[in-house]
Each structure stands twice: as C-alpha cells, then as structure tokens.
Chain length 193, copies 2
DNA sequence: GTCATTTCTTAACCGAGATCAATGAACGGC
DNA sequence: GCCGTTCATTGATCTCGGTTAAGAAATGAC
C-alpha cells in the first residue's frame, strides 16, 4: 500500500469516492513522512499548516523550566488545528512526533483552492471541524474531580492503544504526575485486581 | 443613583453617550434586582437570556453528589453568556446570586431589535463578546502546574475583592479544595510572611 | 440583647503523590 | 553480540490535602 492510499482511506470514512476522485487525491501529494522527534511546530513559530495524522503518533506539549508538559496526543486519523494556525499568533507550544509518522498538511490557500474545485468535499471538511471541537481532551472538571489513578483508568478505557505505544513517562506527563507515581499506580491497580 | 444609571455607566466605559441615548437606555428598563441565593439559571433549564452583572456577585456551579463545585464567579460589569444560551441545550450547571444583585438580562430578540434601531451600539456588543472569550477562567494548564496554595495566591493577586466578599468555603470550592485546607493554607501563608 | 445557624479554625490521623536515590529492564547504535 | 543510553521500577522519606470531629467566631432572626 502506498502512502497516498491512507488519505484516500481517510476520506472514504466520510463518503464514497469515485475512481476519478481517488486519482485526484493521490495526485495532490501532500503527505510527508517524519522521523521520530521531528517537529511539526515549535514554540514561537506561527503555524501556516493544519495537519492530519495518517500514521504514527504526535504529541503537543510546552516546556515548564525545561520539563515537557504534554497536553495532547494525536494518532491515526486525528486532525490537528494548532491554535496558532487560526490566531496567527506565535505558538505557545511544540508539536512533535512520538513515532515515525505519515502526516498530511494543508495550508489555507491550498484547501480553499481544492474545495472550490471539488465542492463535494466541503461537507467532509465541516465534519472534520466538528470532530475537532468535540475533542477528547480532558476537561478541567474531570481533572478536578478525578484522582491520577482514576484518570489513568479512564485513559486505559478510552485510549488503550496510547498506553501501549507511548513511553510511560509521557503518559505520566499527560496525566500531570511523575513517572514514579504512575509506576506505583500501575502496581496498585494490578495487585488489587 | 437609580438602578438604570448603572447600565448607562457600563456603556459609558466603551463610548460616550448622548443625552438622548442615555434616556433611551433608562427607558429600556431591563434591570432586575435579585435576592441572595436567587437563581438565574438551573440545571436542566434552557437559558433564554444573557446577563450582565451590574452590582453584586454571582456564582456558576454544578452539583457533584450534592456538593457545589463552583466554576466561576461574576461580579460588577461581568457579562454572562451561559453555554445553554448559545447551544439551546439544557444547562449542566446552576447560576445563582452570592449577594443581592442588580442584573440586566437580554434575550436574543430584544438585543437584535435594539441593535437594529441603534447600530451605534453594535461595536460595544462585539467588544463584550471579545471580553467573554478572553475570559479569566482558570485553565487546565494552570490547574495542573500550580498547587492549591499557588492558585490561592494568584486569586489574591488578580481578584482580591473576591476573597473579601465571598465566603471562604466557596473560594475553596472554586480552587478545588476543602474549606479546612484553605484555612490551613491561609495560616501557612500568614506565618511564612 | 439572646439564641440558632452559618462559617471558620484547629487538631489528629491517614493516604497519595513528590522527591531522591538506587537498581533493573529495554532499546538503539555499532 | 556488546555497550551505553533511555526508560521503568522500587524503597525511604516528606509534604500536603482529605477526612473526621470539635469548638470558636461571625452572622442573622427575633
């Protein structure tokens, strides 16, 4: 399977594509492959792209006196619209690859041009926008009301894949605790099972 | 000073009003007075009003097995646009008065009518919208990175008025801790000063 | 004023996460 | 395969907030 097929697959989730459209998407050729630890965006930069993770895993984080504070993970078929992309302000956070990735990126102009040419795709892009706002990010209320152990259990329930592909210390950062604590939590949960 | 003057004062922050406009606002008569503990909105209701606190203090909270979890306080000149107002979904939280209040409320239709008649006020309403989105609400990042003590100190710095007019146990709820803990924190901060 | 209710403080105890330090396991480069 | 680095676990100790319970202080009704 060719990289471009992943993008075709992504669109096929939302609509049935004609052979012509498939060829069209393949021709667009807007997929790049990234190595582990490559950056999509750095602090201080203004994002000029939106992204779609086709394969791999990406983290969004910022630095607090040298320490990574992970805010979100993105995996297969997750769209990424950096705040900096809409605000045009320098980004406050980094976005980088946790694994080798295949990622499709789109500038505003390119997307506009594409949609004008092929309006049949507009509803999809609207849907993507919707799924972005109905994001899976932990809310402040959740964070206030649940203990780190609860939050880890929730993560196991809702995104079991993450725990198996992402280093534990990153999961800990995402949960807002120290790696040692996560290790103990896991031990505790295991022995009380 | 008459209640209606408060609304005139509010608009005067943003623009200079003609005598005619002042009379106009006074005539609108959309200010209600509320007693302590009166509700502006209850869980399950659909909000049909936006609010503007002219005097007093209002809290937004939800119940977690009978316990109040305060999410936000609104005081003089704070606009309140309940999520339920825009989404037209039943509200997930309560809004009620911590003190006796004077509050101006507006329905969508009334506001539209008013703005059509007096387009000079449109920029103000846009500004209010802006100030709503650039809200002072605690973010998840802040919550993750700061201890309850830090958060209390921050509150003292940014909204010293609140601490002096709102019962301590509500401040504690807002900070996400128990009243006893806040009491200890205050003691600790005092003795290390 | 008195009395009841609400609010705040204090104390004792507990448990969970932070921190520091050491060891073990897994991974990547060569 | 070997070696070094990265990552995960474990133990000891500490801090802080939660919990329970009691009492003090402030507030409000009458």
């Amino acid at each position: 399977m060719d990289n471009q097929d992943l993008l075709v697959e992504y669109f096929s989730q939302y609509m049935t594509l004609s052979e012509e459209e498939i060829q069209l998407i393949k021709k667009e050729d807007i997929i790049r492959s990234y190595k582990k630890n490559d950056f999509l965006l750095k602090e201080g930069q203004v994002a000029h792209c939106c992204f779609l993770v086709l394969k791999g895993c990406v983290k969004r984080y910022y630095l607090e006196d040298g320490q990574e504070r992970i805010m979100e993970f993105y995996t297969e078929n997750d769209p990424i619209a950096p705040v900096s992309y809409t605000s045009k302000e320098p980004s406050e956070y980094y976005i980088s690859c946790v694994e080798p990735c295949l990622i499709s990126s789109g500038t505003e102009e390119k997307t506009q041009r594409f949609l004008q040419q092929f309006p049949r795709f507009i509803p999809i892009f609207v849907k993507i926008g919707d799924s972005l706002s109905a994001k899976k990010q932990v809310s402040l209320d959740d964070y206030k009301n649940f203990s780190p152990e609860d939050r880890y259990q929730k993560l196991l329930d809702t995104r079991p894949d993450l725990v198996n592909r992402v280093p534990q210390y990153m999961i800990a950062s995402y949960l807002g605790i120290q790696p040692e604590s996560l290790s103990r939590i896991r031990k505790r949960m295991w022995s009380s099972k």
